[in-house]
């Protein structure tokens, strides 16, 4: 199967499924299932191709950059597709029961609109990861943003709508910042192709401003401190599967573009100062996010604030990977952490959804005795917490290990302390939840039964998150096999 067919499966199939599920609202679940299978096949094929032959390029329309749009699958892109695929499929499975639980007119309405929006979101993610064209990335970014906002609004309550409104305004402004940057880049370089930009490496001032604008916009969409304010309310008030998508995947879309910009197209501008500055924001996010997660009274808000902190970890990738001493260690560490966080966060939000539905609230201090009613869910929560804290052999551990190793190789002790301290804070806030869950309360307090599929989906994802450190060498291999030639820093700090 050629790369082009994989694109048909990864982009056109979910897009068509989205349109069809809008046209035939009752078939949404089945269409999503079909799209999930197609995406699975496409991703598997791409992984195989990348491992065998390195990065793959497809010139849409046969024109080729700069006139046409190039799509590209390299190790990074395929890894992101895989992460999105796993989490997307899990959320789809979960949602097949979640929205059906509510038998009201409103519940049916939600289910009808969840599927097209969800499929658009998945289309946008796949298209985003495959794109090598910064204007095309803008279009995918908008699609991603719209789908995310409307999914967040699906809960329909007062909080959810206000949060979604804020999210939309923030997201739209951020997109325009990005687009303005694209305009400046095009005016300077005459191309919007990532690889051609990398080859040009212009030194004029305009790209600096462009890069600053794009970074600002994308960092806002990624909810990097101090532009994180919109995230907790939006992620916490959305329906559980949507929260999972938002935290696990949506913020990573814009983060991925940041990686592409700084490490590929404009890598000449990746000076130590820039890397340290981005890393410092990440460190601040770890602190702020963790401490405010500690102070939350509600489970979903706690998880949402933890996302802010975990995003901070992702930004530690910049100072780590930008160094010639540790490049690949930091790079693979950050990206493995990204995958691990996605799975762990999805599992956590799905668990929170189960709890919310089962006991009718998610106030942490009143969760006593929940373990008895929902042992599988709480076990899933515990397992995903392992990964969030970074205990071995979880994916979170593998990622942090590599980041720490990179820090040691660079001799930057301040960052190492930050990572370790962040882990302790993470341990503190997850233990806060587990403590209440383990306390033998007087009442089991389970109001509504939870369909087993919803509990087991969360558990399987949690097992993936907690166990995939055991296979951490594999994504590292994938990232190396598919590393584009344009990323010379990856040669540095290769794992022995």
């Amino acid at each position: 199967m050629t790369f082009a067919w994989a694109i048909v499966l990864l982009v056109l199939l979910p897009l068509a499924a989205a349109a069809l599920s809008f046209a035939f609202p009752r078939r949404g679940g089945w269409l999503a299932a079909g799209a999930a299978v197609g995406i699975g096949v496409g991703t598997a094929q791409l992984i195989r191709a990348v491992l065998a032959d390195g990065a793959q390029i497809h010139q849409v329309g046969g024109w080729g950059a700069p006139l046409g749009i190039d799509l590209r699958a390299d190790g990074l892109a395929v890894w992101m597709l895989l992460v999105a695929g796993i989490n997307g499929a899990a959320v789809a499975l979960y949602s097949s029961r979640y929205f059906g639980m509510e038998r009201s007119e409103e519940g049916r309405h939600r289910e009808r609109y969840f599927w097209p929006l969800f499929l658009f979101l998945w289309t946008a993610l796949n298209a985003l990861f495959l794109s090598a064209d910064i204007f095309n990335l803008y279009v995918t970014l908008e699609m991603l943003g719209f789908a995310a906002v409307m999914l967040a609004a699906l809960a329909g309550g007062r909080d959810a709508l206000a949060a979604a409104m804020r999210y939309l305004l923030v997201s739209l402004s951020a997109s325009l910042f990005y687009l303005l940057g694209v305009a400046l880049v095009y005016g300077q370089c005459g191309t919007v192709d990532l690889r051609l930009l990398a080859a040009q490496a212009p030194a004029q001032p305009a790209p600096w401003v462009a890069l600053a604008l794009m970074t600002g916009g994308l960092a806002t969409k990624t909810a990097l401190l101090p532009m994180h304010f919109w995230l907790p309310p939006a992620h916490a008030s959305a329906p559980a599967p949507v929260s999972a998508l938002l935290s696990a995947l949506v913020v990573k879309g814009s983060f991925y573009i940041l990686l592409r910009l700084w490490f590929e197209a404009f890598q000449v501008r990746m000076t130590p100062a820039v890397a340290q500055a981005l890393g410092a924001l990440g460190a601040a996010a770890i602190l702020w996010g963790s401490i405010s997660a500690l102070r939350q009274a509600r489970l979903k808000l706690l998880i949402a604030h933890s996302t802010v902190a975990q995003i901070g970890y992702l930004f530690l990738l910049f100072p780590r990977a930008a160094s010639p001493k540790a490049g690949f260690l930091g790079w693979s560490g950050g990206l493995i952490l990204l995958g691990a966080h996605a799975c762990a966060k999805t599992a956590m939000f799905l668990t929170a959804g189960n709890i919310l539905h089962a006991v009718g609230h998610d106030r942490i201090k009143d969760l006593e005795g929940v373990t008895r009613g929902l042992p599988v869910s709480m076990f899933a929560f515990g397992l995903s917490a392992l990964s969030l804290v970074g205990l071995p052999p979880s994916g979170g551990f593998a990622g942090k290990w590599l980041l720490l190793s990179a820090g040691v190789a660079q001799g930057q002790w301040w960052w190492i302390a930050m990572v370790l301290f962040g882990s302790l804070l993470a341990a503190a806030y997850v233990v806060r939840v587990l403590t209440h869950a383990f306390t033998s309360g007087s009442k089991p307090a389970i109001l509504n039964p939870i369909p087993p599929v919803m509990e087991w989906t969360a558990l399987v994802l949690a097992i993936v998150a907690a166990g995939f450190g055991l296979a951490a060498f594999w994504p590292a291999e994938l990232l190396r096999a598919g590393a584009p030639q344009a990323m010379p820093f990856l040669a540095g700090g290769a794992a022995p």
Binding site: L168, S173, L180
Partner: protein, 117 residues
């Protein structure tokens, strides 16, 4: 019709974008913020089109034109969506502004259980 003075247009695009962004930050009414977004967008489009007009050759560069067309459609979609959402926000909360308190993040729903279920 002689060529326009492009420097003027470039500066105007920067000004329009800045005005839009400033209002996005300072205005509270949702309708104004949505308009502010459109004004910002207009600034970006003006930059694109000016750059296209500066391209060497007899005809302007069509690529930015196509990009702007895409952008305009996206922004009208965004406007429609945002207005619909703003309408719902007003129906549910009775307000046409977002509460500034929510900016802090984390306050929302401390006492109030979101209707997500």
């Amino acid at each position: 019709m002689p060529d326009a003075d492009y420097r003027l247009y470039l500066m105007a695009s920067a000004a329009i974008f800045t005005i839009g962004f400033y209002s996005m930050l300072t205005q509270a009414h949702l309708l104004r913020r949505i308009m502010a977004f459109n004004v910002m967008g207009c600034g970006v489009f003006l930059l694109f089109i000016t750059l296209a007009a500066r391209a060497p050759g007899p005809v302007p560069d069509p690529v930015p034109h196509a990009m702007v067309l895409t952008g305009i459609v996206v922004s009208v979609c965004a406007t429609g969506l945002a207005l619909a959402l703003a309408g719902r926000v007003q129906t549910v909360t009775g307000k046409t502004e977002l509460e500034p308190g929510e900016d802090a993040g984390g306050r929302s729903g401390a006492a109030h259980h979101g209707s997500s279920a």
